[in-house]
């Protein structure tokens, strides 16, 4: 079953899946040919993507694309569903600490227009609800809530407020106004401690004043109480500590996977599968234990390929550090088609990749992890981490991918580009990638190709 790494179209995966089954491939309950996600769920974009050919990648895609089914099944089984919003990685750790509770991110619906090539009409429907294309594609979750057909309505909605982007605030407020009550919790904008203030170390080499950590800890205590009430149990420190250890298991595996693929001279797995894999850190794709199994499979595949000296992307490819997830998954394929590879990423949730401290009281540890969110601090903090990782992984160029309409910080991209140019002198560009970027493909290709050419041209002779 261990074929040499290769990119497959959906058609080719049909044949490969058939062959793997004949060879005795054992799949989880959500397994099967990728084609069914086009036929049944109208995820037409899959027909235009190129996939890694490993069984581990097949399992990853099937896991990702069956999340809504998994949530509906969980609801049918009597599990409580929590819709976490905006914090990206903290509330789910708490929710999964409780038995029979799952958390997911309804705002993950922002990828649905890409997968369904806008056939879902979510963005158009959002427009009729007052959120036009000047807003982030996260607005897709609004009609998904209103009209159903995607994820089940959560039993509890939890959303951070304060240091979050204007778009998200507007969209979440509109959601509440439409009759979906939200438990808001305050997230202050992270700042450096003033002189005389007690400083607390945060994951990722950051720090914040103790007063902010105390604030977030109290807020998360309120969230924990609401989760406990929903579950009919008290979310105590023992459960929370177990939840943190399990989340760290996912994070450690992802760290190994990222190191194996990004830091190595050649990439053992393609950029697209790595993007999806990284996303599992946020909420475990609604099944924490299975997400560990999926990641273990990918890590084993990557390590096996590295040992065999077989790679998914040419060793000569230009090493690109990529900032922000793309609205159209096709862009990740495109980068590799024109001779680039990913050597590091910041997909807006680096705090969900860092280990949550296990030597602190659980709520304190979670508060510190939440405050390390790159989205709640100054753009310069984020830029500094990006530059550090660019250096560590030998990045030859930097791409900041912009999400149309998203306005977390209007100048953040520019700040990151300037920082990278100044500190490490690598070429850097900002790209806007829409949910379906076909019409922009020529321009997008030219920009990426030029970046790759420049990166290669700058290599020592």
């Amino acid at each position: 079953m261990n074929a040499s790494p290769r990119k497959l179209t959906l058609d080719e995966w049909d044949d490969r899946h058939e062959q793997l089954r004949r060879d005795g491939l054992r799949e989880p309950t959500y397994g099967g040919p990728l084609r069914r996600h086009v036929v049944r769920d109208r995820n037409f974009r899959l027909q235009h993507l190129q996939f890694d050919n490993s069984p581990a990648a097949l399992r990853l895609w099937n896991f990702l694309l069956t999340e809504n089914q998994r949530l509906h099944q969980a609801r049918a089984n009597g599990d409580k569903l929590v819709g976490a919003m905006k914090d990206l990685g903290t509330v789910p750790v708490m929710a999964y600490a409780l038995p029979s509770m799952r958390a997911f991110y309804p705002d993950g619906a922002w990828w649905t227009p890409c997968l369904m090539e806008c056939g879902d009409m979510l963005l158009q429907q959002a427009e009729t609800m007052g959120l036009d294309s000047s807003f982030c594609p996260v607005r897709a979750m609004l009609p998904a809530f209103e009209h159903g057909g995607h994820f089940p309505r959560p039993d509890l909605l939890v959303c951070s407020a304060g240091a979050i982007c204007d778009d998200f605030s507007a969209i979440a407020q509109r959601l509440e106004h439409l009759g979906h009550p939200i438990l808001w919790w305050e997230m202050p904008r992270r700042r450096q401690p003033d002189s005389g203030e007690t400083a607390c170390a945060l994951p990722g080499g950051l720090s914040a004043p103790k007063i902010q950590v105390d604030c977030v800890r109290a807020e998360l205590g309120r969230v924990g109480q609401a989760l406990g009430e929903l579950a009919g149990k008290h979310l105590d420190d023992v459960w929370l500590a177990d939840g943190i250890r399990a989340a760290n298991r996912v994070r450690r595996t992802l760290e190994s996977l990222r190191r194996t693929v990004y830091a190595a001279p050649a990439a053992a797995l393609p950029a697209l599968e790595m993007l999806v894999a990284e996303m599992l850190a946020i909420h475990f794709c609604s099944d924490r234990e299975e997400s560990i199994a999926v990641l273990d499979g990918l890590l084993a595949e990557a390590q096996s390929r590295a040992r065999r000296n077989q790679f998914a992307v040419s060793a000569d490819a230009a090493r690109i550090f990529w900032v922000n997830p793309v609205a159209d998954l096709r862009a990740m394929n495109l980068l590799e088609e024109i001779g680039g590879r990913i050597c590091g990423t910041d997909y807006m949730f680096t705090h969900a990749l860092d280990l949550i401290p296990e030597d602190l009281p659980p709520l304190e540890a979670l508060a510190r992890a939440a405050l390390a969110d790159p989205m709640v601090g100054p753009a310069s903090d984020r830029a500094a981490r990006i530059v550090r990782e660019c250096r560590a992984n030998g990045a030859e160029a930097l791409v900041v991918s912009r999400i149309p309409g998203a306005s977390h910080c209007a100048r953040e991209g520019e700040i990151i580009l300037q920082f990278a140019r100044r500190e490490i002198g690598i070429p850097a560009i900002e790209l806007e990638i829409s949910p379906v970027c076909d019409a922009m493909r020529t321009g997008l290709r030219s920009r990426l190709q030029a970046l790759v050419e420049i990166a290669r041209d700058r290599r020592p002779a």
């Binding site: 030219s446 050419e453 041209d457």
Partner: protein, 255 residues
């Protein structure tokens, strides 16, 4: 060895034949772009070869660039126009540190290091307001060609202020200005200034002298002056600006 570069732009196709041993341009040619890009490029290539008295077998390699580069099936390889303009301008003007290229459908600002390597670039391919397309629209509206348009711009005494940065709305604005009796040369100069302002916003941090202006729009005398005012620095028009992309392609060995 003789190498050929083909720049398949949005408005025209350009070809340059370059002798890599004597380090000189042997021939160049230009043709309008059209739907059948490969056929048009092949015809131009054949014509330029014939005019230079060369057979196809004398050409050791063909490199295509420009937005239509992937349509040129007879090219040995493709390279982006950013790299090619940089190589072409550097060969013609080794001191160049910044290149402004305004083409038919996009505009670029390219920053060069010593030795001509590209340090970085910015590109506008999403808005027609900073491209030759803006001038095309005005020329069509005024029913005149580019040369006449440029000549008119030079006669301006008080350029109009075209406040809008969107070509579609700017057209309405231009119609309004003409209806008010604004002299035609002032309107044309206003359009050139609007393009220059747009490009200067794109250039931002990149501008390091000497700045060279290339691309077909550089042939219009008023544009270089408008850019000088917008950027507050001298602008040198690259020699044969419409051919720098094709020259850069011919100078490339596919790397």
């Amino acid at each position: 060895m003789i190498r050929a570069g083909i720049d398949a732009g949005s408005r025209s196709i350009k070809t340059v034949l370059f002798d890599t041993e004597r380090k000189e341009i042997l021939a160049s040619g230009l043709a309008d772009q059209g739907v059948e890009q490969e056929r048009l490029a092949a015809e131009l290539f054949a014509r330029v070869l014939k005019e230079a008295g060369l057979g196809r077998s004398r050409i050791s390699g063909v490199v295509a660039t420009g937005y239509g580069r992937h349509a040129i099936g007879f090219a040995d390889t493709t390279i982006t126009e950013i790299t090619c303009h940089a190589r072409g301008v550097h060969w013609l003007a080794p001191s160049a540190r910044t290149i402004i290229e305004i083409g038919g459908q996009d505009s670029k600002v390219i920053s060069l290091e010593d030795g001509g390597r590209v340090r970085d670039f910015e590109m506008n391919d999403r808005c027609a307001a900073g491209t030759g397309r803006f001038l095309e629209m005005v020329a069509a509206r005024l029913e005149m060609n580019w040369e006449k348009l440029s000549e008119l711009g030079r006669q301006s005494r008080k350029p109009a202020i075209i406040s809008n940065v969107c070509v579609v709305f700017a057209e309405t604005e231009i119609i309004g200005l003409l209806a008010e009796g604004k002299p035609l040369p002032d309107v044309v100069a206003g359009v050139q200034n609007a393009i220059a302002t747009r490009v200067s916003a794109l250039a931002g941090r990149f501008i390091a002298p000497p700045v060279y202006f290339t691309g077909g729009v550089a042939l219009l005398p008023g544009m270089a002056r408008a850019l000088e005012e917008a950027l507050s620095c001298p602008i040198h028009v690259a020699p044969q600006p419409q051919f720098t992309g094709a020259l850069g392609a011919a100078l490339s060995d596919g790397a």
